[in-house]
Symmetry: C2
């Protein structure tokens, strides 16, 4: 079942032969991890990328003893940490906010697949460009919006996220103090009634 | 001279044969544009990417009649607007904050080059991944920093930018009100003395 989700995702970019599918299946990509599992720690060297089949992971920094959540990745989203691309120690932590089923691939594995099947190279290029575009728009929206606009924007674009992640992580992700987020939510609910 | 800068940049990723260099040179890539030139407007459809050889361009939105600057691109930096990747009308404006020499390529041209010379495909993949990593770190730093920390961070990482772009654009880029940026600068200069 999980295989079909992965192959469905890939099919948006390239069409795979049975040989290519089997090459992927031989890689032991699929993992099931419990809520709270830390996949990557600050300072750790890693070659791993994640593709979420079911569940949710988040990235966070610990600054002056406080967690600062910067991103969430849910179903059909891909995360290659910057430190994996740059071959440096990780700047941040990655952990599971839910029980999560995901693929974990590593960059050596990817290099081998890409050189054996050049169409994977093309998929990686297109996917990276798409992620770059999406992240740019997210960043620009963050820069040009007030905290209230950011919350309303998320409510429209990702209502599921507001339900499924803890409020203090959501506040941090939106660049708002937790108390301000509570007030903001109360104000919005009041307006609706 | 400008050709050598371009080839020097490419050489960090792939090595080019004379045939490949000539294919690039036949494309009329090099342009010289005056300060103030608008390269892309909000709502416009475009296939163009920019690589800055000398000068500076910026991206900005016009929101409620006010310009909001979100990014600057200077020497050796590449910009492919999200709308070019997504084939949608542009979300923002791109203009030159200085007289600028740059290459302008278009996505049809790139597709042709990539299919003729697969090593360009590899370069585009690596470059996109690097840009994705850099942009993620920039975004995370923006989210987890106070306005003062953002300014100090820029002072350390890109002192040239602080000198070469107008203060109101810089304030907007840092997500600070122009008056707050003036106060912040005054405070920092005071501390130094």
């Amino acid at each position: 079942m999980m295989q079909n989700i992965l192959f469905g995702f890939i099919a948006k970019y390239i069409s795979l032969t049975d040989e290519e599918k089997n090459a992927l299946l031989s890689l032991d990509l699929f993992h099931s991890v419990k809520k709270g599992t830390v996949l990557l720690k600050e300072g750790q060297k890693s070659k791993e990328s994640y593709f979420i089949l079911n569940g949710c992971i988040r990235t966070y920094y610990i600054i002056d003893g406080e967690e600062k959540t910067t991103a969430f990745y849910t179903e059909m989203e891909v995360l290659t940490p910057p430190s994996v691309i740059r071959k440096t120690p990780s700047e941040y932590y990655v952990s599971c906010t839910e029980d999560t089923i995901l693929t974990i691939s590593n960059s050596d594995m990817e290099a081998e697949i890409n050189s054996k099947f050049p169409k994977f190279e093309i998929m990686c290029r297109i996917l990276s460009e798409e992620l770059l575009a999406k992240q740019r728009i997210d960043f620009d929206e963050f820069k040009t919006s007030s905290p209230e606009e950011r919350y309303l924007n998320l409510l429209q674009k990702r209502p599921d996220l507001i339900q499924r992640v803890p409020q203090h992580q959501l506040a941090s992700y939106l660049g708002i103090k937790p108390q301000s987020l509570s007030r903001l939510r109360a104000r919005i609910i009041e307006k609706k009634n």
